[in-house]
């Protein structure tokens, strides 16, 4: 047995299915005890969990620590189907649902959400003995997916020395691989893990942040309604990615979005920022930046911090005029929660909770959420930032008073944004639009943003880096908003007081804008419901300019344990 980096023992190939690592999730302690005993009798390695959230954490902590998940449908903290979705999307593990209720509609729902089986309680031993088949089947399919791709040689090339297939199929020039013949497909995967601990162990497509972004980008380009696996595949243009890979991912994505949509519909109020208790300090901090009336013309320090569930806080300093590219040098706060940066002249905003207040005087100057989209679409994770792009336009606003605080859009807004396709962003932006000129493309926005006063030193470029920074925020949704926020904030710096309605902002996210010159903007994201939709925050690639923290930093994000494989490899 070889120990993987994670410390989890690897499954024992020679005695498969014995040693199958099962995670059981059930809020009923009696069943949990029984199932544990039953699974142990099958010689499986069992981990039990009473809460869906805990289960997700466990799964995220040890990315390859489990082979299969068995979960009850009804759980107090999270719907079993939701958990199912998450596991499917993030970890791509087979999930078996359980319930005492065998109603066809429920079973169907389970299958729709991706369950590979649906067991009725009371569960029999023989049913549990067979669950290894799901694990095996999945591996076989993945292997087939890969095999069907271009060619064995090409695959070979992706992993030097790492034999993806060691069942003899794998010919090619690599001697190390040809030598390995395994009896069952499963073994090959296991071994591969062992030989290459840094890679995800299975020969499955790993939807890295980067890959997923490409996916989302493609989806957006095509148009969510018209999307289809083939089209996406073509657009993405990733070698060795199959139509099947895309199709299954698309299905999960759709489920995910529809669920978010429902959630966002439920949210309708603006909640204050909450602080999470991240394991790593961070988070909760909303940059409070004082609006600064006295912001020197040439110095604008915008701090954008996004407290994310647990930590991530990225702050970007937007330098004033002289230093547009200062952004590039702006240190990105450790996701860990560094909170805001120094804001030279700005006053800190009082409260981290701002309700969107139209009446905020010179507030949000041309807040254009367009900024959301203005930069790197590629940075978007789950959410569809590109959509947002076209919606809003910045408009410079002159600060009316020195103190503008704009609440950050609540995360729920993010969710909304996330959920919707292009059109969705609109309503949100409409709100902001009090001063907004109109729609413009991101590019336009950037250009549109005239530097009004000497204080308005921010150049459009500035936004980009910030945007980029933001994009490194872990949560999908958040990142989107963060981006928007930062842009927003930046624009505000230049803008005169404009009122922005944040009414439509999701309650979870509030943007602070300090308007006026050089008001640092803090964008803080609450972490509220992150646990809720705990989505695998697809972390954007590191910001191009400064954020060189490894993806692992994401762990500091609201969902510390969640991170996608960092490497670019499609297949591992």
């Amino acid at each position: 047995m070889v120990l993987l980096e994670s410390g989890f023992s690897s499954p024992r190939n020679d005695v498969f299915p014995a040693g199958l690592r099962v995670l059981v999730v059930d809020d009923d302690p009696t069943w949990l005890k029984i199932l544990e005993k039953m699974l142990k009798k099958c010689s499986y390695e069992v981990t039990t969990c009473g809460l869906a959230r805990d289960a997700l954490n466990l799964l995220r902590e040890k990315k390859d620590g489990y082979d299969i998940v068995i979960s009850d449908v009804n759980m107090p903290d999270m719907d079993g189907f939701k958990l199912l979705e998450h596991v499917g999307l993030e970890m791509d593990l087979p999930v078996i649902m359980m319930s005492v209720d065998g109603e066809t509609s429920r079973v169907m729902k389970g299958v729709q959400h991706g369950a590979c089986d649906y067991l009725l309680k009371p569960i029999r031993m023989k049913e549990l003995r067979n669950i290894w088949q799901h694990v095996f089947r999945k591996k076989i399919h993945e292997v087939r997916d890969i095999e069907s791709l271009e060619g064995i040689e090409s695959i070979q090339m992706t992993r030097s020395g790492c034999d993806l297939f060691d069942d003899g199929h794998f010919l090619g020039g690599d001697d190390t691989t040809s030598g390995r013949k395994r009896k069952d497909a499963d073994n090959k995967h296991e071994d591969r893990d062992l030989s290459d601990p840094s890679s995800t162990k299975k020969a499955r497509v790993i939807w890295t942040v980067d890959l997923h972004q490409k996916f989302v980008k493609a989806v957006n380009q095509i148009g969510f309604d018209k999307v289809g696996p083939k089209k996406i595949l073509d657009l993405m243009n990733i070698p060795r990615l199959t139509r099947e890979n895309v199709a299954s991912h698309l299905q999960k994505y759709r489920l995910y979005l529809s669920r978010l949509q429902k959630e966002s519909d439920i949210k309708n109020s603006f909640i204050g920022m909450k602080h999470s208790d991240p394991p790593n300090n961070s988070t909760a901090s909303f940059g409070l930046h004082k609006p600064s009336n006295t912001m020197p013309d040439d110095v604008l320090n915008g701090t954008y911090s996004f407290p994310m569930n647990n930590s991530l806080v990225q702050t970007v300093d937007v330098k004033g005029q002289g230093d547009r590219h200062g952004i590039a040098s702006v240190p990105v706060a450790e996701p860990k929660g560094a909170l805001s940066k120094d804001i030279p002249d700005s006053h800190k905003t009082k409260s981290s909770q701002m309700s969107f207040d139209h009446s905020l005087g010179s507030a949000a100057s041309g807040v254009s959420f367009a900024s959301f989209g203005s930069t790197t679409p590629a940075r978007y994770s789950w959410t569809e930032i590109p959509e947002i792009q076209s919606k809003v336009e910045y408009e410079p606003v002159q600060p009316e008073n020195g103190f503008n605080q704009l609440p950050l859009p609540e995360p729920s807004m993010i969710e909304k944004e996330v959920n919707r396709s292009r059109t969705e962003v609109k309503p949100l932006f409409d709100e902001y639009r009090s001063n907004l000129v109109g729609h413009s493309s991101p590019a336009d926005l950037v250009d549109l943003f005239p530097v009004q006063s000497k204080n308005q030193t921010l150049k459009n470029q500035v936004f980009d880096p910030i945007f980029a920074t933001k994009s490194s925020i872990k949560t999908k949704d958040i990142s989107q908003n963060c981006l928007a926020d930062s842009e927003f904030a930046q624009r505000n710096l230049n803008a005169t007081g404009r009122e922005v309605t944040l009414a439509s902002l999701p309650e979870d996210l509030q943007i602070f804008w300090l308007q006026g010159d050089g008001y640092p903007m803090n964008i803080a994201l609450q972490n509220f419901d992150f646990p809720e939709y705990n989505d695998p925050a697809l972390i954007d690639e590191t910001p191009f300019y400064s954020y060189d923290a490894p993806r692992l930093d994401h762990e500091h994000f609201f969902d510390p344990t969640e991170y996608y494989a960092i490497d670019q490899g499609l297949f591992v």
Partner: protein
Amino acid sequence: MERNPLRRQLQIMRKSLFDQGYLDEQFVQLEELQDESNPNFVEEVVTLYYRDSARLILNIEQALERKPYNFHKLDAYMHQFKGSSSSIGAKKVKAESTLFREYCKSGNGEGCMRCFQQLKKEYTTLRKKLEAYFQVARQAGPMETACRPK
């Protein structure tokens, strides 16, 4: 037939539980899970069940005190309770749970109330019987194998 009087008694008690419909196949499954590493597995599970389900019973009771009945909630609670009861093979209790859920679905408050009273009776009766059973079981010492009810 068991020579040991205690074991004989145990067998009789056990058989009666099955014959009278208090327990079903699931109980046998639990017995089959019992082994050297878990010699008191069945008793532990049953104890756990009674402890945890007491909470559910209380929830339902409280919900039944609020008029008008929130059938949706009642059904949800009972669904949980039923799932739990299925874990030890509490046959009669489970049957009452199903009936209760039917009443919930049809919005029959009276039916729910009556059914719940009956359910509680069955629930309590079973507990007493199982307590007595385990007491004898502990005295009798471990049985070699679980035997299917004849």
